[in-house]
């Protein structure tokens, strides 16, 4: 695949593994959450956001370790070789964007990992507990923001609307051998939609009616097609590692 020169044979073999998109989701969203450090609206959220970021990073590392060499996979691939969903890479924006992004993602991840745990994916059992907590945290904030002040309501609705177009990709089947290949994506979509609808109702927010995915036929994150901010994110994340080829840290 484009953008993966310099990987060892083992890591290169991982590029088409169906677990790679899931590992990339966790790494990329963890990185985005890490950008909040020192910027959170209250001290308690400094702790919570870091906790979620650490859980996600832990998931990514466990999956990368299964697949190849973690630092090669994280630092030596270029944009086109990353298979995370576009939702995960979206910049934090305001706190409402960060929380709605988390709600969309974690509600999906919880349902996905619940299925994977049933299908016998060994790393899913721990991850499902974590994503349940992340979803719960995001849900509570969605309620507070949606049903808080006029301003917070407007911001939450804006976030819900603007991130909506990245949610369709979450239900696009990831092909391949093993449990991921056996996931029931339609059930996932139904479960997710019910959950989000219920939360938005309680939060006095409107479920967007706009399309859940873009019109570009080339595809999206799962095909290695990303949004513009992602390249800059990777440039920042990878520059130090790449500046010292072969060094260990």
């Amino acid at each position: 695949m484009t953008g993966s020169e310099g990987l060892s044979a083992r890591s290169a073999a991982a590029l088409s593994d169906p677990l790679l998109p899931l590992a990339d989701d966790s790494l990329v969203l963890s990185h985005r959450l890490g950008e909040w450090a020192g910027h959170a609206p209250v001290l308690e959220e400094e702790l919570a956001l870091a906790n979620i970021a650490l859980d996600l990073l832990g998931q990514a590392r466990a999956l990368y370790a299964e697949l190849g060499e973690e630092d090669e996979l994280a630092f030596l691939r270029e944009e086109r070789a990353f298979r995370n969903c576009q939702l995960a890479e979206q910049p934090g924006g305001d706190f409402a964007h960060t929380m709605v992004r988390q709600l969309y993602f974690s509600a999906w991840q919880e349902l996905l990992y619940a299925q994977l745990a049933e299908l016998g994916q060994p790393l899913a059992a721990k991850a499902v507990k974590e994503s349940e907590y992340h979803r719960d945290h995001a849900e509570h904030w969605t309620l507070r923001l949606g049903d808080g002040t006029e301003e917070s309501h407007a911001r939450a609705q804006r976030a819900a609307d603007s991130l909506w177009r990245f949610t369709g990709e979450l239900f696009e089947p990831i092909a391949g051998p093993g449990p991921v290949g056996e996931v029931d994506w339609d059930a996932l979509r139904t479960g997710w939609t019910e959950r989000i609808t219920r939360t938005f109702e309680r939060a006095t927010l409107t479920v967007p009616e706009s399309p859940q995915e873009g019109a570009w036929k080339a595809g999206a994150g799962r095909q290695g097609i990303h949004t513009e901010p992602f390249g800059r994110m990777l440039a920042e994340m990878q520059h130090l590692h790449r500046s010292h080829p072969g060094a260990s840290w």
Binding site: L27, H31, G34, E35, A37, G38, H39, A40, P41, V42, L43, E44, E46, L47, A50, N51, A53, L54, L57, G58, A60, R61, Y64, E70, D71, A74, F75, D94, F95, L143, R144, L145, D147, G148, T149, E151, S152, R155, E236, M237, H239, L240, H241, H244, G246, A247, S248, W249
Partner: protein, 341 residues
């Protein structure tokens, strides 16, 4: 109850002779003062000032390290650094809570930080320019902090002493990760070694300044020692720190940037060169390399978060009101049922 007015408490509180005696004897016997115990106003003020400054240092101290979270060169280092910055937020939280036991809210203290009426440790006004600075902060800055803070675990005020026990355990882990980070660099490529040395060169002197001015110029020291809020003098602690660092620097394969460092057999300590107190004074007065950035960013985060805090408060108020409504409704229904039965 007979009470005699002693001294001039700013809150105008009468100080019963028995309370003063109880306080004095608790201090003398090395017992803890607890939130509901009587304490002199100045003792309370000194503690609030010190705990607030400590809490502020934890949250401002998140900034120079968070500066490297998005650039950490391996996933393992990224996880460690995120966890460390998170610990600092946690320390801030315990310390603001400990200060609350003295009747001062977090809100009030943050307001004083943001308006410049309370300070944080000057060390955080220095920039983290390379990845090695994350290691130097762990090894030197957290190392100096521990040297300062371990005695606080025996401080006379109970909630502060207890918070410090947990904080010191975590700081000690931070110090070791910093040492280990620098060791990996020092033993790494030539460029990594140079990065580590450059960083130690920049952080060594500011770390020595963290112990505060020399004893004969320290304005708050004497009484804090008397009250057992403070247990050792600035110069004693600074010497202890230098003595610990010299062999560690050697183990790291790095040099400390002080030609005056030499073992003094008769003192049983390392002698070290003169500290540039003018730089310390300047940084303290706001002329350090990052004073402006640190406080601006803190204020900005607080201001940017105002609408979120307002939303949480509005939501809680609405739901408390609805909750009360429901309770009332249920009670009325129960009464109706009982009456009609």
């Amino acid at each position: 109850m007979t009470s005699v007015l002693l001294g001039e408490g700013t809150q105008g509180s009468a100080e019963p002779v028995e309370s003063v005696a109880a306080f004095d004897s608790a201090i003398a016997a090395d017992e803890r003062i607890e939130p509901r115990d009587w304490m002199p106003d100045d003792y309370r003020r000194t503690l609030v000032r010190q705990m607030a400054q400590h809490a502020h240092s934890e949250i401002i101290g998140m900034q120079p390290e968070a500066n490297w979270i998005t650039r950490a060169p391996s996933l393992r280092r990224k996880a460690i650094l995120m966890a460390k910055v998170q610990d600092e937020a946690g320390h801030g939280l315990y310390l603001y809570s400990a200060a609350e036991t003295l009747g001062t809210s977090r809100e009030e203290l943050l307001d004083k930080l943001h308006s410049g009426r309370q300070k944080y440790s000057s060390i955080f006004n220095y920039p983290t320019l390379t990845w090695a600075d994350v290691g130097a902060i762990g090894w030197l800055v957290d190392g100096a902090a521990i040297t300062n803070q371990v005695p606080l675990c025996r401080c006379s005020y109970g909630p502060y002493a207890r918070a410090m026990i947990r904080i010191c355990k975590e700081e000690s882990f931070h110090q070791r990760q910093g040492f280990e980070l620098l060791l990996a660099l020092s033993r790494g490529t030539e460029a990594q070694h140079a990065m580590a040395q450059d960083s130690v060169d920049r952080w060594w002197w500011p770390s020595l300044m963290m112990f505060g001015p020399p004893d004969d110029e320290s304005s708050h020291s004497a009484r804090s020692m008397e009250w057992k809020i403070k247990r050792h003098s600035n110069d004693e602690l600074r010497q202890r720190f230098v003595d610990i660092c010299v062999p560690q620097a050697e183990a790291l394969g790095l040099t400390l940037p002080d030609p005056g460092l030499r073992w003094n057999e008769s003192r049983g300590h390392w002698d070290f060169g003169p500290i540039d107190w003018e730089e310390f004074k300047q940084v303290l007065q706001g002329n350090g390399p990052c004073n402006e950035e640190r406080i601006t960013r803190r204020r900005q985060a607080h201001e940017d978060g105002a609408w979120v805090r307002d939303a949480a408060a509005a939501y809680a108020a609405k739901h408390a009101a609805r909750g009360r409504g429901k309770v009332q409704e249920r009670t009325e229904t129960a009464v109706d049922t009982a009456v009609s039965a």
